[in-house]
C-alpha cells in the first residue's frame, strides 16, 4: 500500500482533530505521522497527515474530509 500525505487547513478549535482523526478511524486507516501548527494571525491551523492506502481509499477519504464543517481545504500533497 502506498504512503500518502494530506494537508488540511482547518479551524484551530477544540475538537477539530477529533473530527479529522475520526474520519481516518471510520475508514480503518492508521495515521503514521501528524503535524499540526496554527497559522499566523488567524483562527486557522494547518496539518499534515501521513498514512497508507490505495487510490480509491485516498479519493474517498479526501471527499469525506472535505465534508467536515471545520475543515476549510484538503489537498493531497504526496503522491502528487
Amino acid at each position: 500500500m502506498e504512503k500518502f500525505t494530506v494537508e488540511l487547513t482547518a479551524a484551530n478549535s477544540c475538537g477539530v482533530l477529533h473530527h479529522i482523526s475520526g474520519v481516518y478511524a471510520k475508514c480503518r486507516i492508521n495515521i503514521d505521522a501528524l503535524t499540526f501548527a496554527p497559522e499566523a494571525e488567524s483562527e486557522l491551523a494547518v496539518m499534515q497527515v501521513t498514512s497508507k492506502g490505495n487510490e480509491s481509499v485516498r479519493t474517498h477519504l479526501l471527499k469525506l474530509l472535505l465534508k467536515l464543517y471545520d475543515v476549510k481545504s484538503v489537498t493531497l500533497t504526496q503522491p502528487k
Binding site: C14, H19, A25, K26, L44, K63, L66, K67, Y69
Partner: protein, 553 residues
Amino acid sequence: MVRTGANIVIESLCRNGTETLFGYPGGAVLPIYEELYRNSYRLRHILCAHEQNAVHAADGYARTTGRPGVVIATSGPGAANLVTGIATAGLDSVPLVVITGNVSVPLLGKDSFQELDITSVTRGITKHNFAVNSPCELSRVIDAAFHIALDGRPGPVLIDIPKNVQNESCQEEDESSPLYFTRKRPLPALDALIRMLCESSRPLIYSGGGIISGRAWGELEELANRIDAPVVFSMMGLTAMRSSHPRNGGMCGMHGTALSAELLKKCDLILALGVRFSDRASGNCEKFREGKKIIHIDIDPSEINKNVSADIGITGSLKSVLTELLKTLPRQSRPEWQQFHKSIKLKNVPAEIKTLVPENLFPAVAKYCDEDCVIVTDVGQHQIWTMHYYPFKTPGSLLTSGGLGTMGYGLGAAIGSSVARGGKRTLLFTGDGSFGMSLQELATAVSQKLPLLIIICNNGVLGMVRQWQTMFYDQHYSHTTLNRQTDFPALARAFGAEGKKITTLEELDSALQDLAPDRPTVLDCRLDKDEWALPIIPPGGSIEEMITEKKGI
C-alpha cells in the same frame, strides 16, 4: 441587551423557526427548562417517555415537514439515550438540531456526576457537533446548527451546552461566531448526460431518498415521462411515485420486487437519483453494474463512485439538477421497453386469498386511511410487507428507518409526524418485537391526544431474523421465538389508549370502522409465525439469485 445562555437558546430556536421541540428534562438542562416554562406561549415542548423516542419523534417531525426537528436532553444518561436516534437520523439524512446539557465547564473532564463527553460519543454519527464554552457563542452556534442540518445532504447536528453556560449572561455586542466552512458547487454541464440518455435503448431510473428529501418527485415524474422509462426505488425513495403509477417498477434490493429485478436485468442504463447504492439495495455491486452504463446524481460528492463506479457522476441537489436537465432534455419514445415493463408487471399480480395474511392486511387498512395519511413502520418483516402491499399515494408519506434499520423507531416517529400535522391520524405498522422496544411512548401519544392507528403484526417471533435462520441456519431458532404473554390490547388500555385483538379480516374491518378520534388505537393482528417476507436476495448475492417462493420448508 444582556441575556442568559438559556434565554439565548430559546430566542435562537424561535428565530430559526422552531415551534415544537421534543425532550426530557434533567439537572443539566434546568435553566433551559425554566426558559421553556416562561416561553410556553410560543414554543411547544412535547415531553416524551424516553430520550431515544424523543429523537425519533423529532426525526418524524423533520421528515414530515422538511424542517429540522429539535430535541433536548440532559447530560449523562439523557444524552446517551439519544445515540440510537441520532444515528438513525444520520443514516437516513434527516435534519435535526439536538441540544444536550452538560456539567459546568469547571467540572468537565473530572468524571463528575452525569458528565458525558457526548460530542466525542456522537462524533461519528452527527453531521457536525459543537461544544459550547460561553453564552456568547450560543446564538450563532444555534444559527449555524440549523444551517448545517439543512446544508447539502441533511443530517443531525448536536450542540452540547454546559450548565454554567446556560446560567451565565452575555451582552449582545460580545457575541462571537463559530468558524465553519460550507461549499457551494456550480451546476455541472449536462450535455454528456443528455447524450448518454438519448443513446440508451432501455434506460431505467433508480430513485432514492434524495428525491424525497429534496422534494423533487414532480421533476422525477416529468423526467420518467420525458425519457419514456420505468422507475424503480430504494426503500427510502419508495413513495416518490404512487404505487399504482404505470411507470412504477417497485422497490429494488434485497427485499425488492421481482418486477424491479427483471427491469434491472434488462436495462442498459441506470439513471441513479439520490441513491447511495447501499449493499442492502444493490447487493453485489460488480454484478449490479455489469453491462450497464451508470449515471449517478447525488447531493453528496462522497456518494459518487463510493459503492458503484459511475460513467457520469454529477453532484448537486436533485431538484436543481433535474430542473436544469428538463429545460433541454428532448422527449424520447421507447415503445418496446414500455411493452416489456407492461408484460412483466402483469406476471406479478398476487393471488387472491381471504384470510388475515400480510397480502390482505395492508390493503385492508389502507382503505380506511386518507390519501395523505403518513405511514410509519418499525423494522422487520412487517416493514418489508408495508413496502410491498401498502398502496402508497402521496410522495413522502412513508417514514421508515432504512439506513440503520432501527427496531423501536416507529412509535416515536409516528408521534412526531402526527404532531407536525396538527394531530392528524398517523398509521404505524409495527412488529411484536419492535413495539416491545418503544411501547412506553404510548403514554406520550395518549397525553398528546394523538389518534395514531397502531397495527401490530403480531407473529410471536422476531420474524425477520427467524426467516434468516430458516433459510440460512438450518432452522435453528436461536432466541427468536418470543414466548411472551403480553396482552397488547390490555396494555393499550392500561396506557389510556384503545386496543383490540384481531384474528380475521372481518374483525379488522369492523375495528377500523370505529377508531377513537382523540387517542391511539392498537390493533393486535395475529399472523402466522412462518409467513415470509419475499422476495429475498441472499446477502451478497445478485438479482439472478432472487428467491421468490417459500420452497422446501
